[in-house]
Amino acid sequence: MQTQTPSPWKQATRYGLIGGAVAILMSLVGMVATFGQRYIVSGIFTMGQVMFLTPILIFAYMTIRRTAPQPINKVILLGALSGLSTSGVMAALVLTGQFLNLRAMFPNASPELYGILTFNQESALGLLLLLGTGLVIGGIAGGIYLLSPRMRSTLLQATTWVVLVGLLRDLIVTVSYRWGFLGNAVKALFAISGLTPLSAVILFILVGAVQYWRLERKQSAASRPTTNQKPYTRWLKLGGSALILILLPPVLGIFFSEILDNVGMYILMGLGLNIVVGFAGLLDLGYVAFFAIGAYTMGVLTSPELGFFSLTYWEALPFAMLACVLAGIFLGLPVLKMRGDYLAIVTLGFGEIVRLLALSDWLRPWLGGTQGIQRIAQPRIGDFLLNTQQELYYLFLIGIGIVAFIAWRLKDSRIGRAWMALREDEDVAMAMGINHVSTKLMAFAVGALFSGVAGTIFAAKLTSVYPHSMNFLVSINVLCLIIIGGMGSIPGVFVGSLVLIASPDLLREFAEFRYLAYGALLVAMMLTKPEGLWPEARRKLELHEDEFDSGQEPLMAMGNPDGR
């Protein structure tokens, strides 16, 4: 029987080849080799192997889902074919590398890489091993597809945990030193690199069991009528999370506190930019400018080195905040009439101007030029000086608490509604009686204020500021974390910051591929979950409404010629 759809075998090969391209990309940018020595399970497999084996699994799984439904043995065979195609592409890379010197063009195409891809075996045997592994993993993907969703999710969860814990071995061991007896127990779980095989198995079973049990509970909970959560459990949860947040720095130690501070700084900025971009729909690419203005104002007002003022942190803070608000309004005024791309370009320029001014010789007597400003004051509460990462963490925590509360209140306020209207349709917003001038300026000013506060804490933390920290990439990072978290969503800012800022800091090797990973993540997000990881309720509604309506009632979409 001849059908219109391409034959499943062809599709399997195609997906397999695409997977091969992804695997080659990851190999040639150096990700595989970088993680080649990082054992997940000591002596058994490394992160490098995870990196090139994952595409095989993922693309084989995708093949099976796209070609479904198929009989059981065909599912396994299709998966195996897809896996074989992927590993075939990699084998071709290894073969080519033996005859041609690829290193001239791809510095990462090293013997080391080939070693990893062929499991450190001699050429023919190695290639066979590679192909065989592809075949088997592809087949396993088929097997996974045939499992119940509950079993699948259990396996996925358990595997992810093993990989994560193995990968973060160094960090976990370092942190656990602080826990005395408990620390020794933790240390015993790990080898020199990665988990010991035994503890890997235990962890796998443990996480799997917990996940399996949780899904069971969820299922039975769904079948029962939902009872409302008792109010005291809610307070208990809230109090519990607060306690955990407060206890984090002493428990985790200095290295994690540094990361947490960094995340906190980006959360503060994210909350501010979320108002400008997410609430009011004004695309601001020069957001780092306000961060810089906050930090530099703090510097100028408190550093005795410059010899103008030497205020304390708390005395200088209101002035820094005022400076940021004014800067926000100053930027807002000329761009009132601009929309979309024009606004983006102008704000981008504004960010660069601020950085260049800080760098300039002309303002050197005031701002220190390339040398920046040193000896910036740190906040003091009573007799207590907040100067370590752990102590400053609490400053971030309080700052975030206040700022998040303000943002949350603003969102549902009158001005929040005005921002929303302006974002949707400026002309109609005016026809509703919304003053677009003051509304836009308010968004810029509040956004600038939050970013400026982050800047002051940043300056106090390092006790110095330099123009090169006011990089354009800071603005891009903040924008990315908002998009990843979910435009206009306040919890999304937290999630986005944790994912984008904490993960490269946790895994130093990863930092090298930071922007590559951002790019891949953004593309993947836009394709699969455009509303973000923790979307605002409205965005979710609207994106899913699309799915429901398309096809059902085509006239509806056509009835709105000027919808967007």
Partner: protein, 237 residues
């Protein structure tokens, strides 16, 4: 004294002289229609009344007060609301949120809630779809929403720009029935239309606009009998 008085306005788009001395009046409680062909300047007239466009000459008065010093958003507070051409709902907000936004210029929660109920009696369709995203409504529903949203500002006078545009004949009739209903409930209406037949059937008086100038001005009964109107706008020979 008329409620809305447009006196000899001249409006421009750059060098384009779009309105060449338009004058019209609307009395309290009336439905007045402004008919004219495409590009005659009907929308421009409404834009000038709502302050989005400032006339180079002439003025707009509401209850004898000159509106030329007010910004567009301030004019809403004076009691003029507009249903824009092509509907323009907030496509990504829900029906309820759209209506809420319409009441932006008002403070009394109780009155707003009462008006919301009134809108839902006037447009039962909107009540059914209150939590649906407005961009997914049909054209007719969007027109209802856009009208209801303007009414949520509790205007003294409602300006409507071609509400029948692009709607099926059944829906057009429904919309015009609603216009009569709204008027009966006490809102004065200035109705801009190309569909002269329908417009003249609901209005008390009418103006005919041609390339930026008022060429005719009379009660609807007289206009319906006018040979030029019959020929140009009612499609009779």
């Amino acid at each position: 004294m008329a409620m809305l008085e447009v006196e000899n306005i001249h409006s421009y788009y750059g060098n384009i002289h779009a309105l060449k001395g338009v004058s019209l009046t609307v009395d309290e409680g009336e439905i007045v229609t402004l008919i004219g062909a495409n590009g005659a300047g009907k929308s421009t007239t409404l834009r000038t009344i709502t302050g989005i466009l400032k006339p180079r000459d002439g003025r707009v008065q509401l209850d004898g007060e000159d509106l030329s010093h007010y910004k567009p958003h301030e004019i809403v507070y004076k009691g003029i609301a507009m249903v824009p051409e092509g509907r323009h709902v907030f496509a990504r907000l829900t029906v309820s949120e759209n209506l809420d936004m319409g009441a932006y210029s008002r403070n009394s929660k109780q009155e707003i809630a009462d008006d919301l109920e009134r809108m839902f009696t006037l447009f039962p369709r909107l009540k059914e779809r209150r939590s649906q995203v407005a961009g997914t409504l049909s054209g007719g529903e969007q027109q209802m929403l856009s009208t209801a949203r303007a009414l949520m500002a509790h205007p003294r006078i409602l300006l409507m720009d071609e509400p029948s545009m692009g709607l099926a004949p059944v829906l057009v009739e429904a919309i015009f029935d609603t216009i009569k209903q709204i008027n009966k409930e006490g809102t004065t209406i200035l109705l801009v239309e190309q569909n002269a037949l329908m417009a003249l059937s609901v209005a008390n008086r009418g103006y005919v606009l041609q390339t930026g100038e008022i060429v005719l001005n009379d009660t609807v009964d007289k206009l319906k009998k006018d040979p030029t109107v019959q020929k140009a706008y009612l499609g009779m020979e």
